[in-house]
Subunit: 330 residues, 2 copies
Amino acid sequence: MTTIHDVARHAGVSAATVSRVLNGHRTVDETLAGRVRAAATELGYSPNILARNLRKSQTNLWAVIISDVNNPFFTSLVRGVEDVGQQAGYSVLLCNSDENPDKEASYITAVLAQQIAGVIISPSSRPDNMAQLVEGSRAVVTIDREVQEVETDAVLVDNERGAQAATAHLIEQGYSRIACITGPRKVSTATSRLRGYRQALRDAGRTFDTNLVRYSDFRETGGREAMADLLDSGARPDAVFATNNLMTVGALETLAERGLGIPDPVGVVGFDELPWAELVRPSLSTVAQPTYEVGRTAAQLLLKRLENPDERFTVITLPTTLNIRDSSRR
Amino acid sequence: MTTIHDVARHAGVSAATVSRVLNGHRTVDETLAGRVRAAATELGYSPNILARNLRKSQTNLWAVIISDVNNPFFTSLVRGVEDVGQQAGYSVLLCNSDENPDKEASYITAVLAQQIAGVIISPSSRPDNMAQLVEGSRAVVTIDREVQEVETDAVLVDNERGAQAATAHLIEQGYSRIACITGPRKVSTATSRLRGYRQALRDAGRTFDTNLVRYSDFRETGGREAMADLLDSGARPDAVFATNNLMTVGALETLAERGLGIPDPVGVVGFDELPWAELVRPSLSTVAQPTYEVGRTAAQLLLKRLENPDERFTVITLPTTLNIRDSSRR
DNA sequence: CTGTTAGCGCTTTCAA
DNA sequence: TTGAAAGCGCTAACAG
């Protein structure tokens, strides 16, 4: 291992000067700086990151805490984060909270212990976790979901409008008993999307019927059970809007099991794109989120916050796109 | 920040003793150890990981270098790694080489610079990268693909047998002109799976026809183009075996575009499970890999290697499962 | 079994 | 503008 002292000796300067040059402090004479850079390349020097971390009490790591690595929504997002982070010299730690507040809490503890530079998080339903994270961390950007109790930079999508567009589309296709399978009551995306659904019904002069609404868990089995329950309960839905991709898959499975055709007698629109939505037969109508963009934008906010810790918080809301395919077109 | 010295003072011992107790060295008197533990909890002490990292010249981080985060094969694998790693006190860095040897090289450099404790990698086609990684890293486990030139612990699946079973199944269903879309010539999974395909043909007394083989890139568009080329070339395939999930998707897209029915006139079997294989119509026959298990096993090998750097290398080969669904059944 | 001591390699005052 | 020196908090070699 060549150290900063080796470079210093080789260039005939002190270690402090080498440090200054390599960190881009402009206060060094150009001649010396040149000598230092030459020595560094000649010796193949690269600074010991661990020593730097200790000295600065901070790593060059980011953490992304998401609720499900298996959900393509998040993987695409992670790429967006990674692309920006790597550019700026950060490596990305992936943490998978699994929609489980305890697991989230343990990751937050780990993140604080590691002295991670910045955190991008899709928060679970426990606001205390977020409070602790924000308290102990240098920079936090919230994605996907809002947390009322804690203020941070955030990147969201226009959930309400997306849900409204999806529901309005189903209405316009002549469906009359449109069900909604949404996520946990405490998760903002679940409630916003439900609100959009409700708004579309109201706009169309329809009544909002709680018999047609199910609160589930954003998972495949949850969607499956919610759909079964809707069919068995006598609510007689002729269409369903599911507020995330996995629950949509679950709903489709139930419909297939029951031998119910799509889009007739039952129309389907899902929130979130499925990677192979075109291959599913009939092809699936979705409200698509700009997932990669969400990740990229969050990473950019994080970068800004790291540079400028005292700036006011920004919240960016990105638009969704309604992709009308065969599952809702009759 | 409470430091080890605070705890030492509080417990009336030296910092070294505190360190010993907290690291589980058994050479400390139980009375003292108890006092230390009491002091530590009372003060809410947690060791500074950055200092420990510097001192030990090693982080408590693992890196997983994979070729595509968007591929569900890898995300499930990452979970397996993460579950084991977290248990043992490691955090997992996710690196996305994107099937690009240059990107892989840059991640390897980063991993070495970070002094990552252990690396799990699905190597690209550039053996030099692996050589450099193995040279500079404490522990490396290879997954998914073999690299001839470099010896490491490894977790593989029985690609040849899986491919053979898939092809034999197509033969048994009465398909006579079975094509194979495989990956890059330099990637072992591509060649092993092709070998299995070939073996099945031989076993059935069929001739191996290179006109029915395409080397592609393990990506969706690659599979799409390869399928189109097969159809346009006059090779007249009546079935296709694609050697990974994304290329299978591509092939399905081409077949749909051309209005060719599945399983008639064209049968399809893919390697790797698709997350919603059941929803694709017709449902897709696949050779499934135990992805989560691959990750878990690799992590366990890594743990072992870290404990025991001089042990002989182990290579574990896990079995695949042929899931026969509608796309190949006529 | 325990304490003293000496760094790990870097950044950053502080003084020149 | 530069260098000397201190020290981030920890672990491990060594001595007792």
